[in-house]
């Protein structure tokens, strides 16, 4: 049961032309657009200024780095959102009505376990590349 990278064979090239067309239009537009020379940031360390901006320490930012507002609230909010996203991801990954432990979800990749596996009777342990379990319900989408 070796696995190795293979070239994708199910590539839908027809759809891809849409992306190419989009690139054509965008590139054509950008190349033809007129821009002034960029203002740039002059003296001072940009990364440092970013750090100041993120924690609302605006007075420490050099004048050459333009007008910047404070982002402390956004920072906090994003932090919370990130946390929430992590929790949400874990919640999604967890199987309903079964062993609530986080370890199971992470260990088996969310794959549906056979009865034997769940009962610990399978000595070979969870195989990462084993195919779909024949005992599992079929969820083939109807079409």
């Amino acid at each position: 049961m070796t696995s190795r990278p293979r070239f994708a064979t199910d590539v839908n090239y027809a759809n891809g032309t849409a992306a190419l067309a989009l690139f054509g239009v965008l590139a054509w537009t950008f190349v033809n657009a007129d821009f002034l020379p960029p203002l740039g940031f002059g003296e001072g360390e940009v990364t440092r200024s970013i750090g100041f901006a993120m924690f609302d320490m605006l007075e420490l930012i050099p004048d050459g780095h333009g007008e910047t507002e404070g982002f402390l609230v956004a920072f906090i909010v994003i932090a919370v959102v990130l946390d929430a996203a992590l929790d949400g991801a874990v919640m999604l990954a967890r199987r309903e009505g079964e062993d609530e432990s986080l370890v199971t979800a992470l260990a088996d990749g969310g794959r549906r376990l056979t009865t034997r596996e769940r009962d610990g009777l399978d000595d070979s342990g969870p195989a990462a590349d084993s195919g779909p379990d024949p005992a599992a319900d079929s969820w083939e989408g109807e079409d």
């Binding site: 839908n12 759809n15 849409a18 992306a19 067309a21 989009l22 239009v25 965008l26 537009t29 033809n32 989408g141």
Partner: protein
């Protein structure tokens, strides 16, 4: 002091009350509602007599009465006409009130014998119908304006429908009732246009002006003024840019539509013979003496208006004369007693129309009076025979009834002589005067109108022969010869309630002609033309026959020729006698045969009533119903088809369009990308970059 005129509305209200009583309480009364009807019509008769006496100047000083009593629809704005109900009493009204209430009373009494004694069910309904009919007919008679006349005219039609269809369990009567109502409704359609038109033209529908603090003008009066001094002078509105004469002719002819329908004139006469499906007393009251007279009465009522239009007069005369002859020929071949009488009724009303068209106002009213008496008599006599024959109407099953039912026979004979126009019975005097008026006015007038009147006269004269013939064919077949069936040999006896009305009317048929013996007056100079004098007097000058005479002369330009009454009278009498003689030869034998076969193809034509019914049925079913079916197909297919089409198109488009919603994220993304490309291109193009 309350005079007779205050009680005129009660003349109609009493039978209306009888209608209510009979309908709701008739089943609890011993005679199933007849009591209410008899009492009410007797009351109406008494009140009518009182009214007539007052009009004559005996019991009061005011000889006429014309008041608006009730505002039906008030027009608040300037240009909105106000519609009222009111009472007009003049000599014509008084006469007609008498006729209607008398005949109605007699028919109620007769119904005791014809309906109660025969054990019919549903009698409360029957007497309610009679009561409602009497009420509406009387209301029609004293109506003082055209709209009120129309309203009661329609009610009368309803009663006719209800009473023809009295025996609704059989197939025939409901169908006949439907036909009667539909055909007259077709005529009333034109009448209604006429009513609306008259109100729109004159702003009033009054038959006679109402004197008072502010004189309300009548429409014949306004029309007269409009013709004399122009429409705008008289405050009259004409339409389509027609001059007053032409527009009044149009209006007159429209109203005439209702007259033709109700008085069963050609071509709307077809309902009347079918209407004989109703009980015989109903035929006597409604389809002979009164309701059918409504049309003629209406023309007489607004005669001042018709006199303004010679064209309308000529058409009336021509329709009348033609109908008189046309119906008489059909009466010749009929086998059923009531059918003969029905065609005779149509024919006789044709005479009245002829008289009206020819300017013989008094003659028409005279014939209306006498006809009401003798035709009611004949129908009641026929009813008596039908009782005796156990509801068998075919004359070929009768014969020899003379000995077995003498009262019926002699009264029936009196009526027949009157109908045939044999001197000195009532019909002779009136029919003679009708023909005489047509002749002298035809001879006296210039141009086409004279010719048309003479044509009407000729047809009327010819009809005299046929009338006498079919009348006496009927008499001989029914009463003379040998009985041809067992029923005829042993007829059921009839009681007093049948004989009494017959006797009253029999005497009337013999004598009522004496009220207006114009030829005798002309010869002897004795002032015995009472009806002429009656109609010529009255407080409302505009509705007197004198005024009509002036109008005839001044506006319609119909002149009288100088001609004595004797020669024309003799001609018509001779023709009548010839008709009687022909009938005598052919049918007054012990065992008469059907001579109609000798007529060959004509017989088929006559038996089928000149195919009038066929073409009217074809018009109704072949044309209108087919048109309706086509319209239905069109509606279901095209109109609704478009609606359903739109709905199925949107459903179809939806069902196709939702395929885009494939559920595959990749497809959505592709679409989004493509759309974005397109949108960008559109911006590029719209922004003028390209």
């Amino acid at each position: 002091m309350a005079g007779a005129y205050d009680f005129v509305p009660a003349i109609a209200a009493l039978p209306l009350l009888a209608f209510v009583v009979s309908l709701f309480f008739g089943q609890y009364l011993p005679r199933r509602g007849a009591e209410a009807g008899i009492v009410a019509t007797a009351g109406s008769l008494v009140l009518s007599m009182w009214t007539a006496l007052t009009v004559a100047g005996v019991t009061g000083s005011a000889t006429t009465y014309n008041e608006n009593l009730y505002t039906w629809v008030a027009g608040l704005a300037d240009s909105a006409v106000t519609l009222r109900l009111g009472v007009l009493v003049d000599p014509l009204t008084a006469l007609m009130l008498l006729i209607v209430s008398l005949i109605s009373l007699l028919v109620h009494v007769f119904s005791l014998g014809y309906m109660n004694d025969e054990g019919e069910t549903g009698l409360p309904r029957y007497y309610a119908g009679l009561g409602l009919f009497t009420a509406s007919m009387l209301g029609f008679v004293f109506a003082n304006n055209l709209l009120m006349a129309f309203m009661f005219f329609e009610l009368v039609g309803l009663c006719s429908y209800l009473l023809i269809g009295f025996w609704f369990r059989d197939a025939g009567p409901p169908s006949a009732a439907k036909k009667a109502f539909l055909v007259t409704r077709f005529g009333d359609y034109f009448f209604l246009i006429g009513v609306v038109g008259v109100f729109a033209t004159f702003g009033t529908g009054l038959f006679a002006p109402i004197e008072g603090a502010e004189t309300l003008h009548s429409f014949p009066e306004l029309a007269e003024e409009a013709i004399a001094s122009g429409a705008s002078e008289a405050g009259v509105q004409t339409f389509f840019g027609l001059g007053p004469e032409a527009w009044f002719t149009v209006l007159g002819l429209l109203v005439l539509g209702g007259v033709v329908g109700k008085s069963a004139q050609f071509p709307l006469h077809t309902w009347l013979p079918d209407a004989m499906e109703g009980p015989t007393p109903v035929s006597a009251l409604i389809h002979a003496a009164t309701m059918v007279a409504a049309g003629v009465y209406l023309v007489a009522r607004m005669y001042g208006f018709y006199l303004l239009s010679p064209t309308a007069l000529a058409i009336i005369a021509l329709v009348g004369g033609f109908t008189a002859l046309f119906a008489a020929t059909m009466g010749v071949v009929k086998q059923e007693l009531k059918q003969v009488l029905a065609y005779s009724t149509i024919s006789q009303y044709g005479y009245m129309m002829l008289a009206l068209g020819a300017g013989g106002y008094t003659a028409a009213v005279f014939h209306l009076t006498t006809h009401a008496v003798f035709k009611a008599l004949l129908f009641l006599g026929a009813g008596s025979v039908i009782i005796a024959m156990h509801h068998e109407e075919n004359m070929w099953t009768m014969g020899g009834l003379r000995e077995r039912m003498p009262v019926t026979y002699y009264t029936f004979l009196s009526g027949s002589l009157a109908l045939a126009g044999i001197v000195p019975f009532a019909g002779f005097w009136s029919k003679d005067e009708v023909l005489y008026e047509a002749l002298i006015h035809g001879l006296g007038s210039e141009g086409s109108i004279g010719t048309l009147l003479l044509a009407g006269y000729a047809m009327g004269l010819l009809a005299v022969f046929f009338t006498a013939f079919y009348t006496f064919r009927m008499v001989f077949l029914t009463f003379h010869g040998k009985p041809r069936t067992d029923t005829a040999r042993d007829p059921e006896p009839v009681r007093w309630n049948v004989k009494l009305p017959l006797a009253v009317l029999g005497i009337g048929a013999a004598t009522v002609g004496f009220i207006n013996m114009v030829p005798v007056k002309k010869v002897t100079g004795a002032e015995i033309d009472y009806l002429h004098k009656w109609l010529a007097h009255g407080g409302i000058e505009l509705t007197t026959s004198e005024h009509y005479g002036e109008l005839l002369h001044d506006v319609a330009h119909i002149e009288q020729a100088e001609l004595g009454p004797l020669a024309p009278g003799a001609v018509s009498l001779l023709l009548a006698l010839a008709g009687v003689g022909a009938a005598w030869t052919l049918y007054n034998v012990p065992e008469p045969e059907e001579h109609t076969d000798r007529l060959g193809g004509v017989k088929t034509l006559l038996m089928h009533n000149y195919y009038q019914d066929e073409y009217q049925v074809w018009l109704a079913q072949g044309v209108t119903v087919q048109l309706a079916r086509a319209a239905d197909k069109f509606d279901q297919g095209v109109v609704d088809g478009v609606v359903n089409g739109i709905s199925s198109v949107s459903l179809f488009v939806g069902s196709r369009f939702r395929r885009i919603q494939s559920g595959v994220v990749v497809n959505y993304a592709t679409l989004m990308t493509l759309s974005l490309v397109l949108l960008l291109l559109a911006f590029v193009v719209a922004g003028g970059v390209l």
